[in-house]
């Protein structure tokens, strides 16, 4: 059970994360002026659910805080507190603390200091009180949630002790009157129960109370039947009798009271302790149990009969029900209607999805083996194309199971930015776009940290102080734009700021100082910008509390490269810096072109391939510094020999006419990649080199081909932009 409970609790925390995201989205919308009822209700419900679960799992601090937050939200929902920008601001701050409480409940952080924000929330309730009614504060103070579930039963009847008669404001509660004789030695309890006439409405059944008391050892000592009207006046759904029962003294009073938890309003319950059990009419003992039962049968025959029929049918559930129940016919229609509207969700362990994905990968490989080995006539005969189509569909479906909107990764950003603004005293607005872009779950999980770093970097180092900005003629408020975009099989995640841009002189000096480059190195602007990703580099003059302890963009770069992605930096002095994470859409399957070079096979991602060219004589020409270009219908495109990039067989230069040039699209424009031959076009399952080795720049991973051999998958952008080649890249951009 404790394992079950842990599992359920894990789901609760997932719900918290979802709830927090909903709440933040809603509160942000409210802050932006959209205080529609739906938005507010959504926020309220999110916080409310967190409170409920927190209570169930015993997270008292979280429960207490969410409860008080909820009180304010409830008033906002009811229109008693206006959703003004100040109120929204306070609620956003409260939201931040709520997130901290959730983290604390998960054991990921300490319980946050929340006194200040609670005071602000209370003040909202007070101010509203000043404006509207003074009674408003009461719910907040009555808050029983704070006592952490000592009283599990909110509905337990309010016992009206004789010295406390003025309470019981509950229409819902029974009027319980306890008459205690304090001096008496504690003999049996005498309980009189007179259900109200409506006691059997709403599914109530007073008889059950009597039965429960009997289970406690009670005996019925009297049944008042004189209130029973003549048959013609009898309301079959009305309650007429009253019972007096004696309960053993050993039973605690609260236990007796609990039996009356759900009795109808206006019912009379008297619990008294009297010396001798009243020797009330013993003759009634016989008929008494029969009486109520007979009435119960008349009153509510349906539930009992149904209950039995159903329990019998239970094992076989729905189908036999149709025969047993005459209502089956009318039931069928609504049930069908429901299937159409309800989206059912199943939670699946991610490891199962991973397993599924792996199996699909193997299936894809088997498919290519079959198509390798069978002639095309045989392929048709065994309907291989159909199998391939199905395989592809399965694969797409499996991928879509794992795809999630990148919003999840973005969700932490607004709060982070708010905090950064406070700690740096800068005013920075956030703009987000492309949150709905869907990415494989594995990618989402791993970009959180690099993203955080990039945002911090932008605010800490990029955006200037308000005075500095105004002096430069910029708006005082800085801007960070976070965007996601899918292009082919890649996701582009950008963090753009409108700050001061990279100070290349300082970066250069710093890199020299840190021994990363030599003082006489000649570097392009791009190369200097990229130095900030060099291990051990940090531009902050004093190690800032925000960007951390000297770990910086080099961590971002290695994280992103571990995902088979890369980081690009572009900066315009005075105008701002854009960091771009280029990530694979999936870490699993790739549409690729298998090429051969020096006896090895490589895979070029099809997403990069523009066209392939079998060069004519003179179409590939040498230019300065042993670079080459290809004349592509009058445009010169730089050519890279894969053999050079990989240092495969330095010296030997194949004649371009014996080679194939694959024109690939890179971020640096079109580039021709010279290989020996093109073998095939196929889907390959990406095996990360990281799994058993480490990521290698220029490679997106490896794959296992149909014959069991390994082909390396090229990361074209990184390959072309790699430092070893960039110095030769004289013609970069010519055909861009």
């Amino acid at each position: 059970m404790s394992d079950d409970l842990d599992d359920i609790q894990a789901i609760f925390f997932e719900e918290c994360a979802e709830g927090l995201a909903t709440a933040e989205e809603g509160l942000s919308a409210m802050a932006d002026g959209d205080a529609s009822a739906d938005v507010i209700a959504g926020v309220f419900r999110a916080v409310h659910s967190i409170k409920g679960g927190a209570g169930a799992f015993g997270h008292e601090a979280l429960q207490s805080f969410s409860h008080r937050f909820e009180n304010v939200l409830d008033e906002v929902r009811g229109g008693k507190i206006p959703a003004s920008s100040d109120v929204c601001r306070t609620m956003l701050l409260a939201f931040d603390v709520l997130s901290d409480h959730v983290a604390a409940a998960q054991g990921q952080a300490d319980i946050p200091e929340d006194a200040a924000i609670l005071a602000e929330l209370e003040k909202l309730l007070d101010d509203k009180g000043a404006a509207a009614s003074s009674a408003a504060q009461a719910p907040a103070e009555a808050a029983p949630a704070d006592d952490g579930g000592t009283d599990e039963f909110g509905f337990s009847p309010v016992t009206v002790d004789l010295d406390d008669l003025d309470s019981d404001p509950f229409g819902f509660e029974p009027v319980t009157v306890a008459i205690e004789d304090l001096d008496a030695p504690a003999p049996t309890w005498t309980v009189r129960f007179a259900p109200s006439r409506e006691a059997m409405a709403n599914g109530g059944e007073p008889l059950l109370v009597i039965r429960e008391l009997e289970r406690l050892g009670a005996e019925i000592s009297a049944v008042e039947t004189d209130t029973l009207p003549p048959l013609r006046d009898l309301d079959p759904e009305g309650a007429y009798f009253a019972w007096t029962v004696s309960v053993p003294a050993s039973v605690e009073k609260t236990v007796i009271e609990e039996c009356f938890d759900f009795v109808a309003p206006d019912s009379v319950v008297e619990i008294a302790q009297e010396a001798p059990a009243p020797a009330a009419p013993a003759a009634d003992d016989g008929p008494a149990p029969d009486g109520p039962e007979a009435i119960a049968d008349t009153d509510a025959p349906a539930p009992e009969a149904e209950a039995e029929a159903e329990s019998d049918a239970e094992a076989a559930k729905d189908e036999p029900e149709a025969e047993i129940k005459p209502k089956a016919v009318e039931k069928a229609a609504p049930a069908e209607a429901k299937i159409a509207e309800v989206v059912q969700n199943i939670r699946v362990d991610v490891s199962k999805l991973d397993m599924l994905l792996n199996l699909v990968g193997e299936l894809v490989i088997r498919n290519s083996i079959l198509s390798d080995r069978l002639s095309s006539a045989d392929q048709q005969r065994v309907e291989l194309p159909e199998l391939a189509r199905l395989t592809r569909e399965i694969q797409d479906n499996v991928m879509s199971l794992r795809a999630q909107p990148i919003r999840q990764a973005f969700s932490r950003v607004p709060r982070m930015l708010r905090e950064l603004c406070v700690s740096t005293s800068k005013d920075v607005a956030l703009e987000m776009s492309g949150e709905t872009t869907e990415v494989d779950k594995s990618v989402i999980e791993k970009i959180g940290e690099p993203l955080t770093h990039m945002i911090r970097n932008a605010v800490d180092h990029g955006i200037e102080s308000a005075e500095e900005r105004v002096a430069k003629g910029k708006p005082a408020q800085g801007m960070v734009h976070l965007s996601a975009e899918q292009k082919g099989a890649r996701i582009f995640l950008r963090v753009a700021d409108d700050g001061r841009g990279i100070d290349r002189e300082r970066v250069f000096a710093k890199a020299v100082e840190k021994g990363i480059i030599s003082a006489d190195a000649t570097l392009s602007d791009d190369e200097i910008d990229n130095l900030i990703c060099a291990p051990g580099f940090s531009t902050a003059e004093t190690i800032s509390s925000i960007s951390g302890r000297g770990v910086g963009m080099d961590v971002v770069r290695s994280n992103v490269e571990a995902l088979g992605g890369r980081v690009e930096i572009s900066s315009v002095p005075g105008k701002g810096t854009t960091f771009t994470m280029v990530l694979p859409l999936t870490l699993a399957i790739l549409d690729g072109m298998v090429v051969r070079l020096a006896g090895q096979r490589y895979v070029v991602p099809l997403a990069n391939v523009v066209e392939t060219v079998q060069p004519e004589s003179d179409q590939v020409r040498p230019v300065a510094n042993s670079s080459e270009v290809i004349d592509l219908r009058g445009t010169y495109v730089p050519v890279k020999r894969l053999s050079d990039l990989f240092n495969l067989h330095p010296g030997a230069r194949d004649n371009p006419q014996d080679c194939v040039v694959i024109i690939v699209e890179t971020d640096a424009g079109h580039v021709g990649l010279m290989v020996d031959t093109i073998e095939d076009r196929r889907e390959v399952v990406i095996k990360s080199l990281d799994q058993n080795l480490y990521p290698i720049r220029g490679l997106g991973g490896a794959t296992i081909l149909g014959d069991g051999s390994i082909a390396l998958i090229l990361d074209i952008d990184a390959l072309v932009a790699s430092p070893s080649s960039s110095n030769k890249f004289a013609l970069k951009g010519i055909a861009a």
Partner: protein, 121 residues
């Protein structure tokens, strides 16, 4: 001859928690995640008892109780509200909508079981 109970709560963890703790006590538990779904499941399952949350998307607990009570076959079906709310106003609203009883979250599984037996013949 276990009682069949439909629990309606928009929180999956709460549904699972209810299911786990009540199944152990011998009840047969079915679940729905909002009022609309809950109403549909009522038709489908015809349970012995309905336990519903109040704050839910689409159709909230009050609306669900009203809708259920309007159906003749469910006039006598006990309905318990299980909510973190505890205000008198909410409770009396639930009562007039047709709820049989009200239990405040968080719940103690044993007490919940006792409460169920209190309303469920």
């Amino acid at each position: 001859m276990s009682k069949r109970i439909l629990t309606v709560d928009d929180s999956a963890s709460m549904r699972m928690l209810l299911k786990a703790s009540l199944t152990k006590q011998g009840f047969a538990i079915e679940a729905a995640e909002d009022g609309e779904h809950g109403l549909a499941r009522m038709h489908e399952l015809n349970p012995d008892l309905l336990i519903t949350d109040i704050n839910m998307p689409k159709m909230d607990g009050f609306e669900l109780i009203e809708a259920v009570r309007q159906l003749p076959q469910f006039r006598g079906t006990p309905i318990l509200v299980l909510s973190t709310e505890f205000s008198d106003e909410k409770k009396s609203r639930a009562r007039s909508a047709g709820a049989t009883g009200w239990i405040t979250k968080p719940f103690d599984p044993d007490k919940l079981g006792a409460a169920i037996r209190r309303v469920c013949p």
